[in-house]
């Protein structure tokens, strides 16, 4: 029944490694997002995909690359991880209609770079 699921929930890795976080939604939504929540709890949009096309790409290092194989999935790949990448990453999805728009969030992936 999970609406938006992210894996893994926790990820500890060394600097310089490459890692991926997966996100899947079973809500039939057409828009998916990645947010980064820093240690001060500030949530910042990173990417937004609509119907598998990138529509928002905030100022994010190009080490971060989103991949959307279909409307239900939006994965985040990170190359050459740095200490500053440590954060909680949230995936979300929404369906943009005339009368309703609401984002559903996954439980988050806590990434720790050591």
């Amino acid at each position: 029944d999970t609406a938006v699921s992210q894996t893994p929930k926790y990820l500890v890795t060394q600097m310089g490694n490459d890692k991926s976080i997966k996100c899947e939604q079973n809500l039939g939504h057409d828009t998916m997002y990645w947010y980064k929540q820093d240690s001060k709890k500030f949530l910042k949009i990173m990417f937004s995909y609509n119907n598998k096309e990138l529509i928002i790409n905030e100022t994010v290092p190009n080490r971060f690359s989103p991949k959307s194989p279909d409307k239900a999935h939006l994965n985040l790949h990170i190359n050459s991880l740095e200490l500053g990448d440590s954060a909680v990453y949230f995936c979300a999805s929404s369906l943009w209609t005339d009368t309703n728009t609401e984002a559903f969030f996954g439980q988050g992936t806590r990434l720790t770079v050591v």
């Binding site: 947010y35 949530l43 728009t101």
Partner: protein, 113 residues
Amino acid sequence: AQSVTQPDIHITVSEGASLELRCNYSYGATPYLFWYVQSPGQGLQLLLKYFSGDTLVQGIKGFEAEFKRSQSSFNLRKPSVHWSDAAEYFCAVGARFEDDMRFGAGTRLTVKP
């Protein structure tokens, strides 16, 4: 571009007391406004949302929020706080079709016994 300001980083209230969390937004058109709650170690849960119509919106867990266009505010209220309400609260603004949601920095709520 839209933005959201939550002026209070941390608020402490006694259990049973009333609560008001402030949110101010900046947006050129009619905004879509949201309040989310994040409990420790958990994801975000939607409390309530405003799109149009009645400016007083009722949400889950006894929360309500009032949209005041003249003040560009969407403050969250609860008449009587419970210990389980201790969490981080985020206000967010969004737009249709071409834009995403922008979140405020969050307000951490502590509830004293």
